[in-house]
């Protein structure tokens, strides 16, 4: 995997535009979703995704395949930018009083068989995103990377540059915190988390 990463990066650095486009297509979905689930806003997530790739493009020479996978390296760049954005907009969010979440329609999702189900999924997603927005950045990113992005503890430790034990602890605390936050609010699944 890391061998193919190194090859792809090498091609990008040699000016192969097609290789760069391949790289963008490979990782844009993951970064876009991380940004969206972290900020709760698609427009912000798209902006952040563009910024991430701009940063990756500018710093591609500094990637060293022997120190880890390209995915983790890109995710680390993404995570740092997202955290920077979170800190930069903290004041605005405090002034606004609450997170302005943008929950997308799921009409294209095969899960949503009818408009009622679509509405239900939308409410459920909004409810989860709202709960996530109440967590501290450290707990939120750990939960997102594990439970939404589906990364391993080792990969998360690599991205966050913290020991694996700390990752496990943050994920555990994040999940419990989220469950408790959601328990206080109304849950679309009724008593599922009560």
């Amino acid at each position: 995997m890391q061998h193919s990463d190194a090859k792809l990066v090498e091609r990008c650095l040699s000016g192969d535009a097609r290789a760069w486009e391949t790289l963008v297509r490979l990782y844009s979905r993951r970064i876009l979703n991380l940004g969206y689930h972290y900020t709760g806003r698609l427009d912000v997530a798209e902006e952040l995704t563009q910024e991430v790739f701009l940063k990756v493009y500018q710093n591609l020479r500094s990637y060293n395949a022997s120190t880890g996978s390209l995915q983790n390296w890109i995710m680390r760049v993404a995570r740092n930018l997202i955290i920077d954005h979170y800190r930069a907009t903290r004041h605005d969010r405090q002034v606004a009083g609450s997170e302005e979440l943008e929950v997308l329609d799921f009409e294209q999702d095969s899960q949503a068989a009818n408009p009622f189900e679509n509405l239900y999924l939308k409410e459920k997603a909004q409810y989860l995103l709202r709960g996530l927005s109440r967590l501290t950045p450290e707990l939120k990113e750990a939960v997102l990377l594990r439970d939404i992005q589906g990364l391993s503890y080792q990969e998360i430790a690599d991205i966050l540059e913290i020991p694996e034990g700390t990752v496990k602890s943050r994920i555990n605390r994040g999940r419990i915190e989220l469950a408790k936050v959601l328990r206080k609010g109304s849950n679309p699944e009724g008593s599922a988390v009560l």
Binding site: A17, W20, E21, V24, R25, S28, R29, L32, N33, Y36, H37, L42, A45, E46, T49, Q50, F53, L54, Y57, L104, F106, D109, Q111, L121, K124, A125, L128, V143, D147, I148, G150, K168, S169, I171, N172, R175, I176, L178, A179, K180, L182, R183, E189, A192, V193, L194
Partner: protein, 202 residues
């Protein structure tokens, strides 16, 4: 096992990452602690709901924007997409295609009737000297045709003039005849009047 210890191991418990001895201890605690039992259900539900959150697919516009912002690969394509395609778009319609087809058929028919004969074409015909010769021949043919048209026009004008003069002549003849007749008629009336007066005096 107490609740605090249970919470610390909760994720490992749900992910089945504990050895059987610790797991059995947690199971035992769950049987007697409704709070921890409720928390396990809640965290399990949260995990499954998070996993079911829909994933967004990046749009083609976003990919293009990223690539253009970085390597600029889509710049040429954008020029094509921004200038050439919109310019050609009005022509890329069924109506335009049909009109073009009709025009092509019409021009083919016209070319077939009056155009050059391609069946007699040979490569010697496209030598520069042959082309000059053909152009010369063509221009002299055009000049001849032009002279013919001018002559035909002159003849037509002459004919029209003659017809006009003839017509005017005929009209003049008829007018003069009519005048002469009316003059003769008035003289005859005057003479007839004089004769009638002479008879009365007698």
């Amino acid at each position: 096992m107490n609740c605090s210890r249970f919470e610390t191991l909760l994720s490992d418990y749900l992910e089945e990452a504990l050895d059987s001895r610790v797991r059995a201890a947690l199971d035992l605690h769950l049987q007697v602690c409704p709070d921890c039992s409720s928390l396990v259900d809640a965290v399990r539900s949260v995990r499954s709901q998070l996993a079911e959150l829909p994933q967004i697919e990046p749009t083609e516009e976003l990919i293009e924007a990223i690539v253009e912002k970085t390597s600029g690969r889509f710049r040429i394509r954008s020029l094509w997409a921004d200038l050439v395609i919109p310019t050609l778009r009005p022509f890329l319609t069924q109506r335009f295609a049909f009109a073009t087809l009709i025009m092509f058929v019409f021009l083919s028919l016209v070319a077939n009737v009056i155009g050059p004969d391609f069946s007699a074409f040979s490569f010697s015909d496209i030598r520069p000297s042959a082309l000059v010769e053909q152009a010369d021949r063509f221009s002299s043919q055009v000049q001849k045709k032009w002279v013919q048209i001018r002559n035909m026009q002159a003849r037509m004008v002459g004919k029209i003039w003659r017809l006009k003069e003839d017509l005017y002549g005929r009209l003049d003849y008829h007018l003069i005849n009519m005048l002469l007749r009316s003059y003769q008629h008035s003289i005859e009336e005057q003479e007839a009047g004089k004769e009638a007066k002479g008879d009365k005096k007698k």
